[in-house]
Symmetry: C2
Subunit: 128 residues, 2 copies
């Protein structure tokens, strides 16, 4: 790949900025983790929802549509009545799990320290 084909987060016109905001969310991180653990098997919509506690049906649809549009997730509709929809990570989607896992693990590992920092800073602000 040539230099010109590479994204540049520091270029305001580059779509890398929007991409990063899409893939950096908690819901993308959770969906990719669940699908990566199941790979190469597919996962059904209802099962994905069960494995992502707190997500609404609407938000899961939007998340999966966005992942499919980016080519990270492949969707297969089984022509039953009602139709069953199956999802799996593409090769590109699988390559995203490593970076996302690193960020997820960092967040989980440092959560209690950051929670403590939040409380200290909030106490300082309300005192000042």
């Amino acid at each position: 790949m040539t230099k010109a084909n590479r994204g540049d987060l520091f270029d305001p016109q580059c779509p890398t900025r929007r991409l990063l905001d899409r893939i950096g969310t908690k819901w993308t991180s959770m969906a990719v983790k669940v699908l990566a653990e199941a790979a190469p098997d597919e996962v059904r919509f209802a099962e994905l929802r069960r494995r992502m506690p707190g997500i609404s049906q609407k938000m899961l649809s939007v998340t999966l549509q966005s992942l499919a549009r980016d080519g990270l997730v492949a969707r297969r509709v089984e022509p039953t009545v009602p139709p069953r929809v199956h999802y799996r990570l593409t090769e590109l989607g699988l390559s995203l799990e490593g970076p996302l896992a690193a960020l997820r693990h960092w967040a989980e590992r440092h959560m209690s320290e950051i929670d403590r920092n939040n409380r200290l800073e909030d106490a300082r602000s309300s005192a000042g």
Copy 2:
């Protein structure tokens, strides 16, 4: 650190979810990169803004406040008229640069492929 002190992204009550949405944004990623490159030196607000093209003054303030509240960035006010504000990464903030860089590099490396996927999917949707 005990298991109980570790965050769990898959627990709807766990603040790791909100944390991940804060640190996964393009602006956090860019601010942490600029500050990591300058470390251990400080960077002034105006210089940060110059190095993050497209960010508004308001959004940079909000981003830095959030990073300071999480204990990722330390702020020092120099009592000049007008006051000068200097920022640097804390040790915790420095430890975030690795995971963020991995995600940033993934996004930049795959941007053109994803851009192509977006165009293919959009053409397919409008045809269907």
